[in-house]
Structure formats: C-alpha cells, structure tokens
Symmetry: C2
Amino acid sequence: MADKSQASLLANIPVSSFIQNVASRSPAPGGGSVAAFAGSLASALGGMVCRLTIGKKKYAEVEETMRSVEKDILPLRDKLRDAIDEDTFAFDEVMAAFDLPKSTPEESTERDQAILAASEKAAEVPLSAMKMSLEIARLLVPVAQGGNVNSISDVGVAGLCALTAFEGAKLNVLINIKEMGDTPFKARMRDEVKNLTAEAMPLLDTIKRTVEERLA
Amino acid sequence: MADKSQASLLANIPVSSFIQNVASRSPAPGGGSVAAFAGSLASALGGMVCRLTIGKKKYAEVEETMRSVEKDILPLRDKLRDAIDEDTFAFDEVMAAFDLPKSTPEESTERDQAILAASEKAAEVPLSAMKMSLEIARLLVPVAQGGNVNSISDVGVAGLCALTAFEGAKLNVLINIKEMGDTPFKARMRDEVKNLTAEAMPLLDTIKRTVEERLA
C-alpha cells in the first residue's frame, strides 16, 4: 500500500513538482491522475464563472441557476482533486500485485487473483471519475448558455477540461480491463463506458457550440 | 504590474491551492492559465512515455525516435509551465488598464491605448501557447504510434491535454481580440489562429485514432 500520509499526497505538492513527477520515468502519477486533475480544474473554472455571474444586474435572470450550479459543482472539484491520488494509489496496487512471487502453482494462483482484484479496483476509480465528469458537463451547460459573457472563454476551457477528464478516465478504465478474461465485471465496465459516453458527448458538444456562438 | 516574485508564482503553490485559486471569485487565474497547465501536462506525459519506452528490447526500433522526442518535448513542458503565470500577468495588465482614469479626453485616449496594448499582449501570450501545443501534438504522433503499449492510455491523455491546451489558448486569443476594431493586428491574429488550427487538428485526430487502435 502506498504511503497515504498528508505530506505525500500529490494534491499537496507544488504545481511545478507535480508536473515533474508526471514526466518522471515512474509510470505513476500518469494519465489517470492527470485526467482527474483536469476534471477538478473543469469544475473549479465552472464555479468561478458562476461566481463572476452572481450579483450582476445584467444576469439577474440566471442568478438562481448559477447559485444552484455553484453549490453542486464545487464538491466535484474536491472529489476529483482527491481522485488524483486515488488513481495513483490504485495503480501502485496493481504494480505491487505483479511483483508477488510466482515460484509455486499456489503462489501463481494467488498472484493472478491479486492482479485481478487490483485491476478491478484500478478500473473502478476512473469509472467513478467518468461519472463525476459527466455530472460536471451537465452542470456546465447552463453556465455556457447564461453565464457572464466576459468569462465565456473560461467556460470553454472548463468544457475542454471536462472532455479530457471524461475521455482520459475512459482510457484508464479500458486499459485496466484489457487483459481480463470475459468476466461479468469486464462486460459491466464496457456497458457503463458505452452508456456514459452516449450521455456525455452531446453535453460536451453543446458546451463547445454554445461557447463558440457567444464568443463570435 | 503584478508581483512576479518567485514565492507568488502559481507554479510554486500546492496543487490544491492552485485549484482553489482558479475557483475563486477573481477572474485570474482563469482559462488561459489552465490551458497552459494542460499543455505542460501533455508534454510531461509524452516525456514519461518516451522514458518508459527507451531501453526496452521490444522497442529497440523506435529508441532513437523516443530519445529525440524526449529531448524536444521537455523544454515545452517548462515553457508552458511558465505560461501559467504569464497568462495571469497579461490578464492582470488588461484589468489594470481598464482601471485607468477617464475623466478628461486625454485620459480617455491614454486609457484606450493602454487597453489596446494590454489586450494585444494578452492575445500574444495564448497565441504562443497555441504554437507550443501544436509542436507537442507533432511530437506525440510518433509516441502514439510506437511508444510502450502499456502506457498507451497515458499517450491518449497527453493528446487530450494537448487539445485542451491548443483550443483553450485559441479561445483566449479570440476573447482578447473580440472588442478590437478591424486592425492589422486583429487580422493577423485571426489568420494565425486559422492556419495553426488547420495544422493541429489532423495531428490531434491521428493521436486519438492511433491510441484507440492500440488500446482495442
């Protein structure tokens, strides 16, 4: 188990160190953590635009909507910030399972089971990030449509970050189930990925189109 | 001029504080800084996959390419990390220009000129980020095609981050030239955005498709 003390959390190190850690020869933190980070930034930007809209006369009509989005989007910012570390922990568990001994048939069986359990966990973490990113996309739609037009480029970047978070998490679900046999777990993951994608893509497209229209 | 001392640089604050700063009611750091951050992470992930490919027998054929990409991609990581702060500084300058007095015609003219100069600078910073993101996309193509397949999801997230960096920077160029009259500067910016987009999109598509094929 990786050291989960506060001081060692990726969320607590400086931005420049995080970037350096990603670039390092160690595979973690990797794409899963970066995708979660992007999701956290998507919801932070969305929350910022709500705050820059609330209290402005010109936007009185959407004030209630912005207050409601702000309330709902900020917990996702924190959950996805935590997922930066969760993804790296889950990946470390998979690596630890691969390192188990396999010199006897018993050890080999135990190792296979440990790898499977760790891989299932490593797929569940990004699946949960996909669900949160879908929720962020849903919340960003009214911000794109009615938020402060002076911040419309920020909503656009939020949408791009939500896309990165969603599709990046998806790639991490898929790579973690890739080597599994045709288990019910794998089938469920594939179904969930497919259904979530069908829900998220039209929302992300709407955000992109709406931002382009309001920026033109 | 914003305080540019080392301690106040966004790159030096903890990841969680950066996320909180983005979400705050202040419009900076906003989408421009987040887009630059995404670009830095794209190149960090690309560099990581090069490092996870170099020295492996199975990938001896692409070793030279990976070494060359690693050498070229890491300076972009650092330049885009610096752009996180540059974008926020440039935005602060625009805000400062808007705050100039306009009680006499002379003051009003000076203020207009200051706003124009600051807006041009605030468009040049993300234009430069677009060019760096295009370069990252170009470097990621061979990594998607030949990099360690165990890290193919990381290349995919790198591609998504490069897309966010490129398109996010574009939105920031466009919002900064939006209120300008039909100046030669505005025409040049529009042309550059169009040409860079025509170059970047096929590369980003190739990365996406190649990752999907190798992950299937």
